[in-house]
Amino acid sequence: MMTADTHVVALHEIVARNQVWPRMAAKYGVENPVPPWKTSLDGLCDALDHAACGAGVPTFQDRRDEEDVLAATVYSELPYPESQLVALAHSLLSRGIISEGELVQRLSVIRARLEG
């Protein structure tokens, strides 16, 4: 099973590209304190909590504990809420809810769609 120590290549590539909101906002002169995907992430977390009774989905407390550990260690370079998002991805991967292969493929498909 994947743990906090597990190196997830796909997530580390995202960290390395460093498109974090403080940099993006400064680069384009945007004043919003948080990125536009933040409320959708909140909705995603609430939907997960709502569904947490089955299918090995992490509970609110599981996610909180794992985010604390991951944000302080593996993803300590990331600001919030990027750290929250990447820690959530790590938690879902570590439980096998999503595989790294399907995540990589989906990232590619979505980027092509958004850039199309």
Partner: protein, 237 residues
């Protein structure tokens, strides 16, 4: 076809700047969401409803509740005895905050009333439970292990880090929240507000006052900003 851009205003001056590139984080959020939906963990409709809930919540209802309680002793008594009823009077239905269910297994809400000798402050030491329907999303610092662990052990020290120094003769009560029990603080009405309207009073009841890390003050309508982590990515880097 007519040229719709033959008019004489400058779009650069009327449109706010936007981030003009697709970030990996934006893509990752969509990917996780789509994969969860495809695996049947939740539906697109559930996600949409929870996102709308997250977009519209904020501390305004709680601030209004406190301001009204300051002006109306009957409403204050209601807020203490029947906080869910008082919440509904400021537009918050705790039992159906999203209109189709709650984002947690919440069962109880209580308003902690400060007195001249007792000051309350809320925390969730275990995770980061917060009275979201009436106070909005929690600030980043509320979620940090630093606040959650230290407030319980060293409340006066942590409050001083927010700029709140309380005399020794005021008891500090730290109220720990959990997924079933949520709390908010009703601070004392400050001096100098005798003739104020409900709207005026509402403006000085900030989110920080409702958590208990600040006291309402005349002229202060913004929250204390607390750096919760070093600046990893300074502007212009």
């Amino acid at each position: 076809m007519a040229d719709h851009h033959g008019h004489d205003h400058d779009h650069d001056r009327t449109v706010k700047p936007m981030v003009d590139e697709i970030t990996d984080f934006e893509v990752l959020e969509i990917a996780l969401r789509e994969l969860c939906i495809e695996k049947g963990i939740f539906t697109a409709e559930e996600h949409r409803r929870f996102t709308e809930f997250a977009e519209q919540i904020g501390p305004a209802p709680a601030a209004r509740l406190v301001a009204r309680a300051w002006l109306d002793p009957g409403f204050k008594a209601l807020a203490i005895a029947e906080p869910l009823t008082a919440s509904r009077e400021v537009g918050v239905d705790w039992l159906e905050p999203t209109g189709f269910g709650t984002p947690s297994d919440f069962t109880a809400f209580q308003i902690l009333v400060d007195t001249p000798t007792v000051h309350h402050v809320i925390v969730c030491a275990l995770c980061s439970c917060y009275p979201r329907p009436i106070l909005g999303n929690s600030p980043e610092w509320y979620r940090t292990p630093n606040y959650r662990r230290r407030l319980v052990r060293y409340p006066r020290q942590v409050l001083s880090e927010f700029g709140l120094y309380l005399p020794e003769d005021i008891e500090v009560r730290v109220q720990d929240s959990n997924q079933k029990n949520r709390f908010m603080v009703m601070p004392m009405r400050p001096d100098g507000t005798d003739d104020w309207t409900e709207d005026q009073l509402t403006e000085i009841v900030t989110r920080d006052c409702l958590i208990g890390v600040a006291l309402p003050r005349v002229g202060v309508t913004a929250n204390v900003v607390v750096d919760t982590r070093p600046a990893m990515h300074p502007s212009g880097e």
